[in-house]
Subunit: 648 residues, 2 copies
């Protein structure tokens, strides 16, 4: 197998310069006004009419000559001859002379001769005359022709993105069709491993996400995406696909087939059919990027994995697309934030996916191009080269992943289906970081998360007055041991914990475990901790050491990162029993639940956020009857739910 | 004509309660993934597959058993038997035993038996074997099945607006069709004065803007707008239109025909066919609002004039639509700002359209429902009842008019076509407030605007060393007289000023003016000021008083608010001559230009903003050759262009 090494990586600024020097020519097309929302204006719009096109009454009342009213008052109203009535939309024509008036509706054209409108409140009609009881000044309650928009005025500039207001202005000056820009951008996904969503997923295959994320991203920039689908890693097929796209598009985005690995051919095709301008950008994850031109049409080859492709798209391509469509400022969607945690960097320049919750920025990179790096990130920051640390508190600029709706609350700790219920009932958007219970305490201490869901048991300790020997306390001892302050613990609900086994299993409790293969939870998980204590109790009862007991259970030292992984291990036969909450077993017909404890799942909250509306809403729902009724089986509110324990 | 008085106005909070109690039921429909951008998810999405669905190599290299490599090093590489090759997308099956390896590409499935991947950089092939020169640990360079997204995980919640990232997640788990919400909202514009954009505008008619702004606004909320067009102010026609809409929509928005004026019938129809819940909200401009229900379908009647309709839509309807589609927080698009000018209020609760430029908020209400109140406003603030003043510096919350692109620079002062050239070449979005030159000095002093275009002449004064008797200085004397500090004046360009007359006019200069009807500019305009000086000079030359001369010119005291208005007056024959710059005449074939002076049009800039990128860009363009070449006839850069005069 032949491998080609990467050429010299291009520095970031050089890559930007190359991309900005690419020539793309948007086409011009006509759009019906109602379909123009979000499109980019192709020409400046100069109005051909005055708005209003006639002097317009802004009140219901009587059109008069102002001087006729100067002397009137409530006690001495002036009497004017009533000539007629002009409703809105009427082209009835009157000429108002001294001593005359015409009834007029809001929006109707003020008749010749009249120069003011008396509000209906200061008038009364009788026998073909109208009595006016308050003077008006010239021009009062009249909007002059052209005083809103003057004929000949430039009302909108080329390159303006059409929003609600722009559409209102265009309608007001009578434009039914508007000239808009069309920038066709071809999208090609390459790779033998790709299949289309909706199709069967054979072994070794993955669904093509890039076609769809890039489609949406291109659309968001105001350009016009064209999907060319998945193309195999074959030079002939790929060249043909590129040829078609080159003939139909102003710019082509490919993804995949750009690295130095087996079967990656994109740069070779560009090199043969056109010119390669850059191969590899010196910023993580820009190494696989190819920039080239075939027959005058620029081609940008993005990394194959979805989160890297979207990072590079937002960093280099989206600003270029917006600029090509006429924007200069605002081509980058950014938001300022403060790092909520200290970052370590490997020293290489890097785009790091981050979450952004109410101005606080935290890393959201699951690594290796995980698609969840996308759904858990709101944007990314650039880490400069030769940076080892970025300290918590550093102000950073986050480039957003397009028009993102940011989360309302950042919730860490152990997973619980009760959180889904809370999210549904509050209507808030949770960003959840499943750090396990012990991780939950840490991120609250670090000030990263707003709330942590925790279920960490501690054994009775001599020094504590409120406990009885053997009693297990949840979370408060951990908070005290860690010396956390300026936090509150809100008591949550109780959860049934037990062994998850197959329906036909003979395992009936912890006593059955010796000799059986167990899949345990990871260290730091509250569930693992409560199992530990129950095993201790069992060992004591049996009169053996804890070590002796656990060594008799193969897999006791294992550590599945989630309950779902525990279920999978039991279902696949890799383990005979797993540890988890009842709810997991209930969701799966093939699993049986063998309870061994009830634990308390609580919420640790930074005091600082206790009064923000989102947290208030969270607590309000936690205390509601609806929440109690909607908790799934195995979870239950109790008398302590909602209890507040402050730690100053 | 019968008039009905408004019933009791409903307080704002009560109106919100009524609207939030309305029942609208979104429909569910299926959307192809590529069309799902911006739509609202109708159901929660639980993944049915693991992502990745197999253990996946994250690097090009060799799949091995990690323990085989523990002892190797660069000097003592371990030799493994090469079983074969797995490219990405392949389902080639191998079982790797001790002493064996399989070549593997990034993205390919890791074969049975292997538990790590050695990067290609640390290996070399020879004769069916591979030499490994660096140890790997278990799991290295492998992404476990389900480690990105676990089968059974809830990946997206009902009510989520689908953006780029959500679409990426849906594609990754193989969803081709997604369940989305469809909330059909009918839009009806009423009023005899309305015609459709694109049609001929007869006298007394105005173009229907509300159909289009509401269409875009409804779309922006994620709902589905349906246009029912313009309906005449006729009970039978209107009832029929409402009946159709009631049978097809979940909510109906009408505009117009809701006030107590002549021919307004909306509330009567709702009253007869259903139930009126409110008629009039006690907030300006909510007086004409009607809220009712016909056959279970809510109807909200909005004011007829476009800016009022959009204010009420954004204040009451848009949050309700977003909420009905599942959002709870984020239902109101707001941005915090600081009032840059003191507001006076009439004491009534009010929604005031405002502009928002880089966090500074200023009123943008042209009054009387001007459509330009829309295009010049980015949103609105709520002025509480019984408020007489809101002081400059007060923090306010601006409710945005949907997804608005805010301006980059706020520019006040006198109008000049050179500003359009600057806007085009900078690519910046200017918000222009045509305050006239003298207004320009004031808004800079008040700190409202960033830049003011000024052309205010002052006569030579004895105290000044640098001037000669008779010489006219521009702008600097005004700055000194006003005592402005912390500003800089940037010299702009020269403009030819003169009389605008009809082509066949005999007027050949200021001397011809006596006896002719003049249309002058408003007080505070620099053009009026330079005319004043030239008239003084002429009077001196003629040996008469200035007063004598001006009294011989009818209309000398007039004050058109814009140059376009001046042109209109001359073209319509209302005046024989107007005053303005050459450019105005050049744009119109029927006008001739008779020059009487050259003036200097400069830019007054607050020092505070001198270093922001937008102002830097502005100045860079002002000094560019391209700007010089693109200035229209009658405007010209000169040796002082770009000169900086600071005032500390």
């Amino acid at each position: 197998m032949k491998r080609k090494e990467f050429r010299e990586l291009v520095p970031v600024e050089e890559a930007r310069r190359i991309i900005n020097s690419l020539q793309v020519r948007p086409e011009k097309e006509s759009s019906a006004l109602e379909n123009a929302y979000g499109k980019i204006l192709a020409e400046e719009i100069v109005t051909e009419i005055n708005v209003p096109s006639f002097p317009r009454a802004t009140m219901d009342g009587y059109a008069v000559r102002a001087e006729d009213t100067y002397a009137c008052s409530e006690t001495e109203p002036v009497k004017l001859k009533l000539l007629g009535n002009i409703p809105a939309g009427s082209d009835a024509r009157f000429t108002v002379s001294t001593g005359e008036a015409v009834e007029i509706a809001t929006g109707a054209p003020v008749p010749e001769g009249a120069d003011a409108v008396v509000m209906v409140e200061y008038s009364s009609e009788e026998n073909g005359t109208v009595l006016i009881s308050r003077p008006v000044t010239e021009g009062e309650n009249i909007m002059k022709a052209g005083s809103d928009i003057l004929k000949g005025e430039r009302v909108l500039r080329r390159g303006r993105k059409l929003g609600t207001r722009e559409i209102g202005v265009l309608a007001s000056i009578g434009k039914k069709e508007v000239p808009v820009l069309r920038l066709p951008v071809g999208i090609i996904s390459t790779g033998d491993e790709l299949v289309n969503p909706g199709e069967n997923l054979a072994r070794g295959k993955v669904y093509d996400a890039n076609s769809y994320t890039l489609y949406a991203g291109v659309q968001e920039c105001g350009a016009f995406p064209l999907l060319y689908g998945i193309v195999m890693d074959d030079e002939i097929v790929m060249r043909k696909a590129l040829e078609t796209a080159v003939s139909e598009c102003a710019l082509i985005l490919t993804s995949g087939s750009t690295s130095s690995g087996a079967g990656d051919v994109m740069y070779r095709i560009i090199d043969e059919a056109g010119e390669t301008l850059a191969h590899g950008i010196n910023i993580k994850p820009g190494k696989p990027v190819v920039i080239g031109v075939i027959k005058g049409v620029p081609i940008i080859g993005l990394p194959g994995n979805p989160s890297s492709a979207l990072l590079i798209f937002n960093e280099f391509v989206a600003p270029f697309l917006r600029k090509s469509l006429g924007a200069e400022v605002g081509i980058r969607k950014t938001e300022a934030g403060i790092l909520s945690t200290t970052l370590r960097s490997e020293g290489r320049q890097q785009l790091l996916p981050v979450g952004l919750v109410r101005g606080r920025v935290y890393p959201a990179d699951r690594g290796s191009g995980a698609i969840t790096s996308l759904s858990e990130a709101d944007g990314f920051i650039e880490i400069p080269p030769e940076t080892e640390f970025m300290e918590a508190g550093t102000p950073v600029e986050v480039t957003l992943f397009g028009e993102v709706e940011k989360p309302d609350l950042l919730i860490a700790g152990g997973f619980c289906p009760g959180l889904d219920v809370l999210e549904d009932l509050t209507g808030l958007r949770f960003r959840t970081l499943y750090t396990g219970s012990s991780g939950g305490f840490s991120v609250i201490a670090a000030g990263t998360a707003d709330i942590a869901g925790v279920n960490m048991p501690s054994r009775y300790s001599e020094g504590r007055k409120e406990t009885l020997p053997g009693e297990i306390l949840y979370n408060t001892p951990t908070i005290e041991n860690m010396g956390l302050s300026r936090v509150v613990l809100i008591k949550g609900y109780r959860r049934e914990v037990g062994l998850l086994v197959k329906q036909d299993s003979q395992i009936s409790g912890l006593e059955s475990l010796p000799g059986k293969r167990l899949i345990n939870r990871n260290r730091g998980s509250g569930t693992r901790a409560i199992l530990e204590m129950k095993i201790e109790e069992l060992a004591e009862k049996k009169g053996i050491s804890k070590k002796e007991l656990t060594e008799s259970v193969p897999g006791y030292g294992s550590g599945a990162k989630s309950e779902v992984a525990v279920c999978e291990a039991v279902l696949s036969g890799k383990a005979d029993a797993g540890v988890g909450i009842r709810n997991c077993a209930e969701k799966n017909n093939d699993l049986k639940f063998v309870k061994f404890a009830e634990e308390e799942y609580d919420f640790l909250i930074r005091k600082e956020v206790l009064d923000i509306p989102e947290v208030k809403k969270f607590l309000q729902v936690l205390n509601s009857a609806e929440f109690a009724s909607k908790l799934p089986i195995g979870l239950q509110v109790y008398e302590r739910t909602g209890e507040i324990i402050p730690f100053e």
